[in-house]
């Protein structure tokens, strides 16, 4: 078991009221799984992604990641966990604009304190995996959207994390480039990487071996991607009919 969430709540104080973005989430993910998390905006999907990524700590509940209880960790401990266990891939790429592709990929290894030689070797290896060895010394502004996202994936891979966490990775890309990125994820999954893909697109979820759907801060569906996507669309239609 790589990830085990039990009774996770994340509450915010909004104008004197307590709003639960996550209202008791239980979720278990094994090593090597490729899981989509789907949900409408406002469903709590982003909060779940932040908690899973150790960017946010839950108000209540337990979160065990790779054998470590991370729910009550301090900021700096969480930084170390993010650095070693999690490779982030963001919708907006989040590359450092002034640094080259290579330097961007090296960044998590810098914070791990690896010597320059090893950083360089690992970053090159990761860039090779995403077929970007021709663009090592280009800055993000000199790269296309698809290339930028591949740099970001290489950055996530270079740290050799136990979990790749992708937040709407195709959201800023055209459909052809998006499909290319999804194929890259599938190849990485085939190599044994654990991947969590957060998305609002049922079509993407349908391609994943497993999907969970979150609504109002709770997991309401869990199963093979295609089935979850189908049920999602069905309820969506029901909802639309009810409204009309």
């Amino acid at each position: 078991m790589l990830i085990s969430l039990q009774g996770i709540r994340r509450e915010y104080h909004v104008g004197g009221e307590i709003v639960a973005a996550l209202a008791g989430v239980d979720l278990a993910i094994d090593r090597g799984e490729f899981v989509a998390i789907v949900g409408q905006s406002g469903s709590g999907k982003s909060t779940l992604m932040n908690v899973l990524g150790c960017l946010d700590t839950p108000t209540a509940g337990s979160y065990v990641l790779n054998g470590k209880d991370v729910a009550r960790m301090s900021d700096d401990e969480l930084a170390d966990v993010r650095n070693r266990e999690i490779g982030f891939i963001f919708q907006a790429f989040q590359l450092l604009p002034r640094e080259t592709a290579l330097a961007n990929v090296e960044l998590p290894l810098v914070y791990r304190g690896l010597p320059a030689k090893e950083r360089r070797a690992r970053a090159l290896e990761a860039l090779e995996k995403v077929h970007l060895t021709q663009r090592l010394h280009h800055k993000p502004t000199e790269l296309s959207g698809g290339q930028r996202q591949r740099v970001a994936i290489a950055r996530a891979l270079a740290a050799k994390p136990s979990l790749l966490l992708a937040d709407e990775p195709t959201g800023n890309l055209d459909s052809a480039t998006g499909a290319e990125i999804i194929r890259l994820f599938e190849a990485l999954h085939a190599e044994g990487n654990t991947i969590i893909l957060v998305t609002h697109e049922p079509k993407l979820a349908a391609r994943c071996p497993r999907a969970v759907r979150i609504t109002d801060g709770k997991i309401v569906d869990d199963g093979p991607g295609a089935e979850v996507a189908f049920r999602d669309q069905a309820t969506g239609q029901l909802r639309d009919e009810a409204h009309s």
């Binding site: 960017l55 982030f88 907006a92 914070y111």
Partner: protein
Amino acid sequence: MIRAFFDNLRLAFGTFVAHPLRTLLTLLGIVIGVSTVMTMMALLEGLRIKVNKDLSQLGANVFRVDKWPQGFRVGGGNRMNWNQIAARPPLTLADRRAIAESCPSVLRTAASSWQPGQRVRTVTTETQPNVFILGTTVEYPDTSGITIAQGRYFNDAEDVDGRRVAVLGPDVADRLFPNIEPLGQEIRLKGRPYTVIGIVERRGKVLGLFNLDNQVLVPMNTFLAAYGKRRTSSISVEAKDAQSVDRAMEEVTRVMRQRRELGPNDENNFEVSTNESSAKSLNELSTVITAATFGVCILSLLVGGIGVLNIMLVSVTERTREIGVRKALGARRRRILAQFATEAVALSLAGGLIGIGLGFGLAALGRWALGLYTAVPTWAVGLSLAMSSGVGLVFGIYPAARAARIDPVEAMRAE
């Protein structure tokens, strides 16, 4: 640790390259502060070295008797009121004779008197009205350390007779006789003709201001006849040897008190001072100027520091997203803090280095263009470096702490 430091240094450098003008403007306050203090210290140190050297060149075992207190008295207990000093009787040639006759420890004495701001003419040309006219007795070269470069000093007969002969400082000689041999030529002081009999060896300026070479020396009696008999003199006294200086000073004081009929409880109404005491008072003065300069410098560094604070806050705000990404990828708080603190220190240290360079440049310029004697003391360089990096640390720590506290989720959402 060291690897992290170099990474931070590289990042800081990258920021400067990305915003060269902004960086330069931010540095300006620190550059000005540091270069000011460097230049002032160079001037003072040069002055101190030069004056101490000058004073040590003045005849050994020499002290002076004056109406006015010597040089610059800073602070000190019994400061006298100006009117009281002005009311003191002048020192005369009769005082000098008495000292020479009744003080067994005294080897020789010389008297001198002066009139500043005079114009010296020849038939064809004239100087600015800034020449220092000095009337002296014949022993003056021995007690004051001047040497004759050309010709001779005047002799006793010329002094006693009040003959109109003159020894020129090199600047006056160059001004009046640029192309001809000055010896034997005629100059005019207050309309009266004097024959040039000698030229003094070049000595430079004292305090960077008072030009020892822009002088005309004439016999004492000639001077008194031309510029007024009632003026005071300064009497230089040379003791027989180094061991008898103190005794000679006591003897001179006793003779002077007798001549002025001072009671046992009256204070001296004249001054006896050695070259060392002048050097000491100069050193005291330079300490005060140093302290004052530091006051100015610290103000300027404060302004510079506020500049650093401001630009670092801007930098942190601008780079909120970058900070968020760094934290998401595993940078600890301390690492972010160190990154921005390093940047602030590097920024102000760069200002310090430029300021030090500029200070050396200004000191060299002063030496070359104005003929000032300057020397940059090593401690001033060290202090400038320490102060500028200190400013960076003090004013950079708050923005750095703000950067370290940024929440990565919020930050990555920022535009």
